[in-house]
């Protein structure tokens, strides 16, 4: 790819590049300079203790206006991501699986999916799916996460169990087929069986064109969704980056142990 640096020749194309990202919420700085590069086909895990800024990063990438970006840049497929409203980011292929999926009484799951899918298709210059094709797609994707048919006609997430909500997120992701999926603590509140099902759904969506950022507090999820790269987020910065074995080290030593080992030799961005 001509426009990419020569060092990257032969590697997959860069999907997302975060440089020095800073963000605040309610006047308090939460992200203090994040650098991260994600290429097509890659799965990155971001781990970190509570309050380290994991969810903030996810929401800033998806365009949540409650957070103010105070510095840095995010380039997504060569474009300035931060200049796009959330809906445009979604239409351009970014999908955030929420840690706490929102309940929306009075809007059926089916309606939301159809509206969302057609918004994405329209943006890509594709015609709207007719009812039959849409239903076929929905049925196919529901199988991936073993979701109950009955949930389709219910209001979005209303009265869903924790597991059903998380399945619904991955199901939506499967229907929308994003290029960059951000999974924000998808494992929280799931028992081991539900976790396996959700992970199976996620793994089936992995592919050379698609990248994922998997945010989690615990190493457990990464046994099922195995990342290529693991980053440790601490106090608004990525303090360590490594292979999947880093997650195991974290599990063994705890976050405090890892922080100890990085003190004094703060690691910067992943290799460019």
């Amino acid at each position: 790819m001509a426009r990419e640096a020569s060092a990257e020749e032969g590697r997959a194309k860069t999907l997302l590049e975060i440089r020095g990202l800073r963000a605040t919420a309610g006047g308090k700085e939460i992200l203090k300079g994040i650098d991260l590069t994600v290429r097509a086909g890659e799965v990155h895990a971001i781990m970190g203790p509570n309050g380290s800024g994991k969810s903030t990063l996810a929401h800033v990438l998806a365009g949540r206006e409650a957070f103010q970006v105070t510095g840095g840049q995010v380039i997504y497929e060569g474009r300035d991501l931060l200049a796009m409203p959330p809906e445009e980011r979604a239409r351009e292929g970014i999908f955030l699986a929420f840690q706490y999926p929102v309940e929306i009484p009075g809007v059926s799951n089916m309606y939301l999916l159809k509206a969302a899918l057609n918004a994405v298709r329209k943006h890509r210059g594709l015609p709207e799916l007719d009812a039959i094709d849409f239903l076929a797609l929905v049925k196919e994707k529901m199988k991936l996460v073993e979701m109950d048919d009955a949930l389709l006609n219910r209001s979005v997430n209303e009265g869903f169990s924790g597991g059903e909500k998380k399945r619904n997120e991955i199901f939506q992701m499967a229907v929308l087929g994003p290029r960059l999926a951000i999974l924000d603590e998808t494992d929280s509140g799931l028992d081991i069986d539900a976790l396996k099902t959700v992970a199976k759904g996620v793994n089936s969506l992995r592919g050379p064109e698609r990248a994922m950022i998997v945010i989690t507090h615990y190493q457990r999820l990464l046994n099922y969704i195995v990342p290529g790269t693991v980053h440790v987020l601490h106090n608004g910065r990525i303090v360590r980056t490594g292979g999947k074995e880093l997650a195991l080290e974290l599990e063994a030593k705890g976050y405090a142990g890892v922080e100890e080992s990085v003190r004094g030799s703060r690691q910067a961005a992943p290799p460019r």
Binding site: A62, G63, R64, E65, A66, P85, P86, E87, R89, A90, R91, F95, L96, F98, P101, V102, E103, I104, P105, G106, V107, L112, A115, A116, L117, A119, V120, H123, S155, V156, Q172, L176
Partner: protein, 446 residues
């Protein structure tokens, strides 16, 4: 003699002329009733904000306009296609049409129904059904009537009368369509609706109040429904008066033993609107459902007062009123539930939910329980809020545009009220109306 205040005078003068023109010239039973009404009104005058029941609503704008008594009859604006829309064609049911409170025979269509069922103008019923009507009109002593009800009685002349004899199921709804226009200047009409439902009978009543132009007029309506033992009554009121209109209406309901009454009150129009709904669970085991929706914008003021009186044991009531308020409009909800001392095992739930779309919109919500028995289950709740920012972000994060997402959430907010409207052509019509009426454009919040 109480002093005659300026604001009462046009009504007293109009009454003097009106009473003379009525059959029997004041000596008939109806004449005596009207006289009691005007006397009561003369004594009370219009309510002021010092009256607790009118604390949040000033009728001063109404009293400043000299409304002439509407003579009705002008139907030129009611073309066939306008009427078709107002009757939600193809809605197969009886439609009684009124223009400025007067029955318009040529525009009405009464379908054949079961033996003994009466669907007619009140004017005819006053002549033909005195034995049925008079006790209803005298249910509440004239000396107890509030001002607007007294005024309605004073100008008693026309409206609708529906009677379903006992053990009769009316499958088709009865639609009472009250259309108003102003004449040479602002006019007032005082339609009265009386619905009598026999024991173990079933009926669905729909009252529409509609303005067909942006006229200034005043509708002062009063409706009484009496449901016998085991009766099932479904009542919908669709208020879409002109944006300049004044609409004051009472709905008085008495439900008998094990009877079920459901009300759906939808307020979309009017400049100044006041609804008083009072339901008495007069015998054991009564069941009452009150659903309400008000959608306001501009400088509209819509006030809903409801009273559910659990007079006897084992009564159930469920009330949910929702409001969507935009621009500089104002809403008032005042809901009172009374549980009488011997009404044990009463089960009452009351909710009022409001969605404020603009910064200037305002709502006063006052849910009240007055419980005089320990063995009851009662609850109430009220909320006033804005669109849920998290839900908005969730929808946008799925690719939905900001305006679309806001509009969807507003529709979702009212959807449970709409879905409870049982008459399907009406529900479909209401969905269309809401599509037009609910706020679409919103300033982007910082």
């Amino acid at each position: 003699m109480p002093a005659i205040f300026e604001d009462r005078k046009p009504y007293l003068d109009a009454f003097a002329r009106f009473a003379k023109e009525q059959p029997g010239n004041g000596r008939a039973w109806t004449g005596l009733l009207r006289k009691e009404g005007i006397e009561r009104f003369e004594q009370l005058g219009f309510p002021t904000q010092k009256d607790e029941a009118w604390r949040c609503t000033s009728v001063a704008p109404l009293t400043r306009i000299p409304f002439a008594l509407a003579e009705g009859g002008r139907t030129e604006g009611l073309t066939a296609d306008v009427l078709e829309r107002l009757t939600f064609e193809p809605w197969e049911c009886s439609h009684l049409v009124f223009v400025n409170g007067r029955h318009a025979r040529t525009l009405s269509r009464v379908r054949r129904s079961a033996a003994g069922v009466k669907v007619k103008s009140l004017e005819a019923a006053l002549r033909e059904d005195r034995d049925r009507i008079e006790p209803v009109l005298r249910r509440r002593a004239a000396t107890q009537a509030p001002a607007f009800a007294a005024l309605n009685t004073a100008f008693l002349r026309d409206g609708a009368f529906v009677e379903v004899p006992e053990g009769t199921v009316l499958e088709e709804p009865v639609h009472l369509l009250y259309v108003s226009t102003s004449e040479d200047g602002p006019t007032a009409s005082h339609p009265r609706t009386v619905v009598l439902v026999g024991d173990r009978s079933r009926v669905t009543i729909v009252e529409s109040y509609v303005g067909i132009r942006d006229d200034v007029y005043f509708t002062n309506a009063a409706t009484t429904i009496i449901a016998g033992a085991g009766a099932i009554v479904d009542h919908t009121k669709l208020q879409r008066e002109s944006g300049e209109a004044f609409h004051v209406a009472s709905l008085d309901v008495e439900i008998g033993r094990d009877a079920r009454f459901a009300s759906h009150s939808v307020a979309l129009g009017g400049l100044l609107v006041r609804n008083d709904v009072a339901v008495t669970l007069a015998a054991e085991g009564g069941d009452c459902v009150l659903n309400g929706l008000y959608v306001t914008s501009g400088r509209q003021h819509v006030d809903n007062h409801t009273l559910i009186d659990h007079a006897k044991p084992h009564g159930t009531s469920r009330e949910l009123y929702k409001g969507v308020l935009d621009e500089a409009s104002r809403g008032v909800f005042d809901g009172l539930i009374i549980v009488r001392p011997d009404a044990e095992k009463s089960d009452a739930r009351q909710e009022n939910r409001n969605l404020l779309i603009s910064e200037e919109a305002l709502v006063d919500s006052k849910p009240t329980l007055l419980i005089n028995n320990d063995d009851v289950k009662c609850s109430h709740a009220a909320t006033i809020g804005q669109l849920d920012e998290e839900a908005l972000f969730y929808l946008r994060s799925r690719g939905m545009g900001d305006e679309t997402a806001r509009s969807l959430l507003i529709h979702a907010f009212v959807s449970d009220i709409v879905s409870r409207v049982t008459v399907s052509p009406l529900r479909a019509g209401l969905e269309c109306l809401l599509f037009i009426r609910l706020p679409k454009h919103h300033p982007v919040r910082a």
